[in-house]
């Protein structure tokens, strides 16, 4: 095991099987540069070592772990309820869906079923969170490629969603809104009409983003067939979420293995055709609209009733193990929980979508130009809190 304590990138790139470039008449030597970890365009603390031939990227190596907080180790020393807030800190942009995944996994372990009203509230909040996550993605992605204005539009609209979260559970980003067995807080009395007001407010705003970017000549140049990845590669590399759907695979956990009342709503799964940055952009824009559709159905048909199932104060799930995954905005987010009958889980393994999607960066970027690396990192929509855990 090599011990390259130096930050010299060449030591890292030993494994990249890059053939010596054919000895050409003008022998331009390769350039190896570090992009990151403090780089304006890497979403968080990601260091990418690029091996360049002039402008073209020959190979990349991602050095991660700068944000590693050892969440899985901590999980082994916390009870199930105490670990709940940690889950929000992983993918801090889509904290609500993290919480949903974890609570449902433990509920499966305890063989407890959340009451229907709690399920509906969970669906509404998760879809709102998906919309907020996609909006943040669009703002920062457009900024990386140079378009400054969408950032302000998307953040203005995201503010509305965060206001609803704040009214509901006091926190805007890492909400810790759900508990094992259902939701802790009953919806505040103006909840339905707030959401309804948002549902009328949002669609024209999404049209605005489309107006700004979809037919923008330079946006097309910068995203059309950049970072293309085929469906076969996606599946082989375990890439999930909008990136997989943009490559043409019509697969969404909300439809394939429905959880938390998703089976009761009808919505389509947008897919792209040739899996390039533009298709991923279109897929995510369409997903925003589908989320709105789900929220509308959920708000109209939200049932009355209790919001918390009967769950023992001190949870001692039976010995056994469970794997439960949900469709987070970035892809398939899975929890593999092993319990040994005590109040503290024996092992919690989190399967983060960003971590696995980032692996595809190398394939998508090879042969592209340096400027495209930024665009591809943006379109992968990775959040380093989730990659490093």
């Amino acid at each position: 095991m090599t011990e390259p304590t130096t930050t010299d990138p060449k030591a890292y790139l030993s494994h990249l099987e890059l053939g010596e470039p054919d000895k050409t008449f003008l022998d331009t030597n390769e350039l190896i540069i570090n992009m990151g970890p403090q780089h304006p365009a890497t979403h968080g603390v990601l260091r990418v070592i690029l091996k360049l031939d002039g402008e073209k990227v020959l190979g990349t190596e991602c050095v991660i772990g700068y944000l590693h907080r050892g969440v899985e180790k901590i999980a082994e020393h916390r009870t199930y309820t105490m670990f709940n807030p940690y889950v929000d800190r992983m993918d801090y942009v889509a904290a609500v869906s993290n919480g949903l995944g974890y609570c449902e996994a433990v509920e499966k372990l305890l063989n407890v079923e959340a009451p229907p009203r709690a399920k509906y509230i969970r669906v509404i909040l998760t879809e709102l969170n998906r919309l907020a996550s996609h909006q943040l993605w669009l703002g920062t992605h457009a900024l990386d490629i140079g378009a400054m204005t969408p950032l302000f539009y998307t953040f203005r609209d995201r503010e509305e969603i965060l206001k609803i979260f704040e009214k509901y559970c006091g926190a805007r980003l890492t909400t810790h809104a759900f508990r094992i067995g259902g939701c802790l807080y009953e919806t505040y009395e103006g909840f339905e009409d707030d959401v309804k007001k948002f549902l009328d407010f949002a669609p024209p705003k999404i049209e605005e983003y489309e107006e700004l970017l979809t037919t923008n000549r330079i946006w097309l140049d910068r995203t059309k067939n950049v970072g293309t990845i085929s469906a076969k590669d996606c599946i082989a590399l375990g890439v999930t979420g909008p990136v997989l759907r943009a490559s043409g695979v019509k697969w969404d956990l909300r439809k394939a293995q429905p959880y938390a009342a998703y089976s009761e709503f009808d919505f389509e799964i947008p897919t792209g055709t040739n899996g390039d940055t533009y298709d991923r952009y279109l897929v995510r824009m369409e997903e925003m609209r589908q989320s709105l559709r789900i929220i509308r159905q959920a708000v109209d048909r939200i049932p009355e009733g209790p919001i918390m199932a009967k769950v023992p104060k001190v949870m001692k799930p039976p010995v056994g193990e469970i794997y439960h995954s949900i469709e987070a905005p970035k892809g398939e987010l899975g929890y593999f929980i092993v319990s040994d009958g005590s109040t503290q889980p024996y092992r919690i393994r989190v399967r983060p979508p960003s971590f696995v999607n980032l692996q595809a960066l190398d394939i998508m970027v090879r042969g592209q130009l340096v400027a495209d690396v930024i665009a591809v990192i943006g379109t992968l929509d990775i959040v380093l809190g989730e990659v490093d855990r």
Binding site: K73, I74, H77, N111, I235, Y323, G334, R349
Partner: protein, 159 residues
């Protein structure tokens, strides 16, 4: 599907049952790669969701290595588990699913289980010079690689 596998490998398949509706298989570590290969080719488990490990310190074969697989055509999940002792190595499954590359690197980083045949087995999350494997049960929660912290960060101790 399990009977077909049992026919091929006889005693290799220790146990195949399901818990809470999720079926899993425990397989002898020596034949793990062909089982995975069969699962991927014949049984269309083309998507390797996750590779992870468990540490039971007081068992003679301490580590459980678990592959969580999913098949798109059959919309079905399965977990394949194998038990190995400390210091034993496992053949890497990167050739079957490229996604296992980073997942196995993380298992190595956290548990110290080596996968031979892995293209680039080195730490992925922890800094390279780090000694010790955190997710092992005997690795205390506040314990830290003091020496690495002193050299690289130049501070007395992390806490």
């Amino acid at each position: 599907m399990v009977s077909k596998l049992k026919g091929r490998h006889g005693t290799g398949i220790r146990e195949a049952s399901s818990y809470l509706g999720q079926n899993y298989m425990v397989v002898e570590s020596s034949i793990i790669t062909d089982v995975l290969q069969v699962l991927r080719d014949q049984e269309q488990f083309d998507y390797c969701v996750d590779v992870t490990a468990l540490h039971y310190p007081n068992r003679e074969r301490q580590f459980d290595v678990i592959w969580i697989l999913y098949s798109f055509p059959r919309n079905e999940r399965i977990r394949v588990k194998t038990m190995i002792a400390d210091g034993e190595t496992l053949p890497s499954s990167v050739s079957i699913w490229p996604t296992a590359n980073w997942l196995e690197r993380e298992v190595y980083d956290m548990f110290g289980i080596r996968f031979d045949g892995h293209p680039d087995l080195k730490r992925i999350l922890l800094p390279d010079g780090w000694k010790g494997y955190p997710l092992r049960k005997d690795y205390g929660i506040i314990q830290q690689d003091q020496e690495w912290v002193q050299i690289n960060l130049g501070i007395e101790s992390g806490q």
